[in-house]
Symmetry: C2
Subunit: 286 residues, 2 copies
């Protein structure tokens, strides 16, 4: 049982990890795919105090060097689901499960551009982790909509299990797919069903009869990560201590609201970590 | 008329200034005496992301280099009072007055260890700026209690105007005082009066008959800087946008509450600046 799991790998997550390390807590950073951090693409950052005219990439490098120099490891795993077990939290990271007494969400600014039908059929044929739920659809036709190359591996894996696998990439690069996977370069219009489960994916030029649709997003909408998390204008509602509506769950950085600034993310990461420490200390006194 | 006056010279103030500069606003940073910034004394800082094992002094140096490199000047002036003029704010910085459409408070963690009688007689013989109010006590006996060497100059100045000047330093260094100033190395117990004005300063071994007492603090209690500022547990009450109870006044860093962390101060400074920019843009549209 860990003290804390930090979900994210950007500035807020690293700042939180730094403070957890200094406070001698056991923790895991589920950093996901670093390529998707928006900071990587910033040509020049001027307003993170202490670094003048630095590229986003170099700034992130110096953040990572600092964290790694303190002995912090960043796990490339991605959190798909967090279950509140009452006394602790269980995090599903695809093929692995981790338990912790508290959670720090630092998932960044996930644009929640839900597909039509996505919210209605989530858990009723729509999922975010093909590896996790795919085997339930053995011998059935399924579709994978993917924002990044991670989806390819999942499609290839499921092509050996499912009757048909349709792959709809939402990125430019040419996917490397096994022969059994059917590539469709079409915009998805909606996911439909009979009210209780998915039966159709409607794309611009095709209608696919499928029993499941997996959506591989760069960032999973944070409100889907954990049940009962109160949101406010698309961001996680937090108080000044970065506490969320769920005791033991803290949030920081872009996922906790505007402005989307590195300095804000770093500052909030440190506050979230110190609040988590306080929460854990309080629990251990119970 | 300036867009913003930033009160403070620490990490929160510099971060706010950085963002105001980038947003092309006109502003003044009243940094006060840099020696009093607590960060200067930190032997090692480990949890400001990007800098590993750096001394507080070196970190502050790199912050200043960044700010100065962006063309930001830090004025050594100290704000004594801020008046809400309805449409703008007037800041009294001793011998100078400045006007601005909004204010960012970044005054740090001022320990409000009020002296006995201080709050009762504030404005009734007790003041924080001897240069400002001293001339009102021409020919009268006064006392100066000072937390730092700034008080010496004020004592020397008033020794030419007042009937008697008592100087009670609350610091170790030997004060450089003119002959007319009476040095007393005693702890102050209380300031007393007749209910409407000060008439006595009681120290450990002396009772001084005085008409005024000037208290020169490293940090003026922020609640005394501006009328009507709502506080919460000794800190300025702020919302997530760093807005205070007074429209157009923002606060950031230690004065806006715990934890007292550099990363938090820097993050909040950037948020306060962006909120001030939004406030100013809204006003200019009116």
């Amino acid at each position: 049982m860990l003290d804390v799991i930090v979900i994210g790998g950007g500035p807020a997550a690293l700042s939180a990890a730094l403070n957890l390390k200094i406070r001698n807590k056991s923790f895991l950073v589920l950093g996901g795919n670093e390529k998707v951090t928006g900071l990587m693409k910033a040509p020049q950052v001027d307003n993170y105090l202490g670094f003048k005219e630095i590229s986003g990439k170099d700034l992130l490098e110096s953040f990572k060097r600092h964290a790694e120099g303190m002995g912090i490891e960043i796990n490339q795993g991605k959190a798909y689901n967090i279950l509140d077990m009452g006394d602790y939290f269980a995090v599903n990271a695809g093929s692995e499960y981790y338990d912790a007494r508290s959670i720090i969400l630092a998932t960044g600014h996930g644009k929640a551009n839900y597909l039509k039908g996505e919210r209605e059929y989530l858990g009723k044929g729509i999922g975010y982790c093909a590896t996790c739920d795919g085997p339930l659809y053995k011998g059935k036709p399924i579709a994978i909509i993917s924002e990044n190359e991670e989806g390819e591996e999942e499609a290839n894996f499921l092509s050996e299990i499912c009757a048909a696998v349709y792959y709809l990439p939402a990125y430019a690069a040419q996917p490397k797919l096994k022969e059994g996977v059917k590539l469709l370069r079409e915009r998805v219009l909606s996911i439909e069903g009979d009210g209780s489960k998915v039966n159709k994916l409607v794309a611009e030029q095709s209608e696919l009869q499928v029993n499941a649709v997996f959506i591989i997003r760069n960032v999973i909408p944070v409100s889907q990560l954990i049940e009962g998390l109160e949101m406010e204008e698309g961001s996680i509602r937090v108080n000044r201590s970065m506490g969320t509506s769920i005791p033991g769950v803290f949030a920081c950085g872009d996922c906790a609201g505007k402005p989307y600034q590195i300095a804000k993310a770093v500052g909030e990461g440190s506050v979230a970590a110190l609040s988590a420490v306080k929460y854990l200390d309080g629990k251990s006194l119970e």
